[in-house]
Symmetry: C2
Subunit: 325 residues, 2 copies
Amino acid sequence: MYRIDNLQYANWSEKIFRQMRAGRLDAVHVTIAYHENFRETVLNIEQWNRWFEQFPELIFKGRWAGDVRLAHESSRTAIFFGFQNPSPIEDDIGLVEVLHDLGARFMQLTYNNQSLLATGCYEDDDTGLTRMGKQVVREMNRVGMVVDMSHSADRSTIEAADHSARPIAITHANPHFWQPALRNKRDDVIRAVTQNGGMLGFSLYPHHLKDNSDCTLQSFCQMIADTAEKFGVDHLGIGSDLCQDQPDSVVEWMRVGRWSKEIDYGEGSAAAPGFPPMPSWYQDNRDFGNIAKGLATVGFSQTEVDGIMGDNWFRFYEQNFGPEV
Amino acid sequence: MYRIDNLQYANWSEKIFRQMRAGRLDAVHVTIAYHENFRETVLNIEQWNRWFEQFPELIFKGRWAGDVRLAHESSRTAIFFGFQNPSPIEDDIGLVEVLHDLGARFMQLTYNNQSLLATGCYEDDDTGLTRMGKQVVREMNRVGMVVDMSHSADRSTIEAADHSARPIAITHANPHFWQPALRNKRDDVIRAVTQNGGMLGFSLYPHHLKDNSDCTLQSFCQMIADTAEKFGVDHLGIGSDLCQDQPDSVVEWMRVGRWSKEIDYGEGSAAAPGFPPMPSWYQDNRDFGNIAKGLATVGFSQTEVDGIMGDNWFRFYEQNFGPEV
């Protein structure tokens, strides 16, 4: 029914907003901060407000699950904000509610490094949730901002899933059993998230795919079927990690921010430092429907396909974006 | 029906929130910035969020006119945010929408001094709306943030009333014909505001009252009757300017902020630099109903009294807090 891509970080433009419509995306969760502090994040929100004002027939700001329905009914795309780092709240827990008021619905407790809240997946030692991390998870629970552990280390992720009073998410990653990338998640991590009602969004970022850019739609969809078998189909969705039209300077910003004077290649390498090419069957938002076709061929029912394509995220939005009751 | 005080800046506490309820205030517009920049204003919002969390049975954050109704029905007070200076938007027009999202509903284009937007009432020369001022008024119109000219100079106020596509307000001041204080407004200024659908909120701050702290309820209410005669009763409400329990250091902050190293006494003097005592019949929120009694004795009908006590502000909220249609 609803189509939701729960993670993109494109070089946004009217072209891309039109492609969202062409792909019949009812909602997209967009990253609006990697390393930005509070004031810089607000500048990014201002930029989005400008786009909402410029292209009201294509996009609008999503705040609640009901906005997905509104988008569907009015043939537009609801844009939900999220952060891949807790840098926007700085050292101030009061900014969680302020940023929720401004529309933030997902926040990663870490990007790749240690943060004030938890440990990132590239650190050598994972010390789990920090003192502030525990407080912030409770505050996120209270106001309705979803804990996202896509780039966090294993122990931190499991502790977050257990400490959180509400379901958490891994918005964009794949199972480690399929492609043993550092960013992909081991079974016990996925289990900790999903058994508490949390969600896993499958990534189409080539470094997370078997055979990378050459990954086949068949392999991707079979992996989803295998994951559904293990963890339940209701906990699965898409978080494509589409970084369309970004110059390679952006992947450098994502990886290095201001925390290092040396280059860090992250999932890339000195030989291939830039964004890798996307798979042929998922070049941009217009191809979103291809995933539905692929899912139908690996044995999912129509209801299950609908769930993975957006209805599972929709239900998750319904339960997790509002204040704790 | 509804009781609204459209301007207070008290040293907020549980005691005062309980007094609001005792005075049956359904809504209070509170000042949350005098000279604060954006980040400092956000800290003030965080403080209010803490109070909303601590005292949910007494107060909650008001966003729309409907929240006044909700407050009335649930015996609580809806708190609406406003600024007495445009310092919270700094030099960034995009912050108008951001702060509206965070609940700001009134913004003065100036405090007493020249701002980036217009001229304050204490400047020697009044050059009217600036280039940025015109842009910001249009943006405030677009998102539904009310232009407040309480502390602005005459030409600036008249230009704002004329330039604004939506009604503006003088939230807290009295007519100059009754008490010729610098902050009180001349007839042509009140006319410019009210003839475009705008509102005048009567102030109970002693410097704005005939005989100051010794002003009688009778004199205050007769002044309201005379103002209604001239400009129409539908455009009148209360903006008490209650500064309860504030230490005198706060009036110094209001007057001097960080703009001067010398003391500026504003409406006070070296001999009387602090907050003046409030009139005996309006010591705090519990006395709000005394005004209704006084109004009934100077010839207003019950409907007119209800209008001045809150229904006129309520109607104004209904028409001016949402996006331009």
